[in-house]
Symmetry: C2
Subunit: 176 residues, 2 copies
């Protein structure tokens, strides 16, 4: 339910009230229970919805350097256009510590992300696209950590990602 997502973005899971969500949609809160048996079900729906939004970040072009650049550019664009999406992600990260179902959803999502990055970095190693050969696993984690770190600071994302690119790809010909 989109309304629930918006509520979480605004007030966090701490402020998620079934009655409020129901009112946003214009129905009674008991009717909401008709669609989501428990609050937990609603939370899970929000988690699934939020993670699904990242599917738009597809595989990208075959050239590893371009693929990495576009991946980061995609993230930055989403961060600019839909900052709430990332806020909810942080909220979910926190909730995953106490909620196995959310943890599971998030884990699957992150595994997909990790795979995309690993593939790009591996391809880049093979093609000699990076400034220096990279430890794929660790660099994947570095990129993920950096991305997670700017989730609540959209303004910082641009420069930070640029710097990260520069360090990974090196200074060889920026945008061709």
């Amino acid at each position: 339910m989109l309304a629930a997502f918006r509520r979480v973005a605004e007030a966090g899971f701490e402020g998620l009230r079934l009655r409020q969500v129901a009112e946003d949609v214009g129905i009674d809160h008991s009717t909401l229970h008709h669609h989501f048996a428990t609050k937990q079900d609603l939370v899970l729906a929000v988690a699934e919805y939020a993670t699904r939004q990242f599917w738009v970040l597809g595989d990208g072009p075959p050239d590893p350097a371009r693929a990495l650049r576009e991946h980061l550019a995609g993230l930055r664009r989403m961060l600019d256009e839909r900052p709430e999406l990332f806020v909810v992600t942080v909220e979910l990260d926190l909730r995953a510590r106490r909620d196995p179902a959310v943890d599971d959803a998030l884990r699957r999502h992150e595994a997909g992300w990790r795979e995309v990055l690993s593939d790009v970095l591996t391809a880049g190693n093979a093609a000699g696209a990076w400034a220096a050969p990279l430890d794929v696993a660790v660099t994947t984690e570095l990129v993920i950590a950096t991305a997670k770190g700017v989730r609540l600071a959209p303004a910082a994302a641009g420069p930070v990602f640029a710097q990260l690119e520069a360090m990974v790809i090196g200074d060889r010909g920026e945008q061709p």
Copy 2:
């Protein structure tokens, strides 16, 4: 109040209950109100306490490369020994979006951190301690973002920080 901090670490602000905190300390919840007029005051105390814990990360040695390494090593050590501290920090980051007082406390804390990093990076530029001259402001943000990104994944911190060091300092003689 330490008990409150522990509660936040366990259950988040979402699960922070005055009665529970009071019980942890062994007093009545109304007595708690005698020490903290409102819940908000307690939350603020937790915020102040949490940020104060990072004061142990002092200036470090004069040599920039060593200073950076020790700074990251210090963070990693804290992350290993007191992961809850970082969890609460994330929780605070989120809460700061809705709570100006928390936002203020966090902003001051982050300003201090930013200054330490900026100083080290600037000194490193002057001494030619880095692999290449750095944009101090952006690199500061990069380090902060990375650190924030691993707050909920202590295991990743070690390798990620090592990689970050390698990229900033270059491969010139690891630990002397």
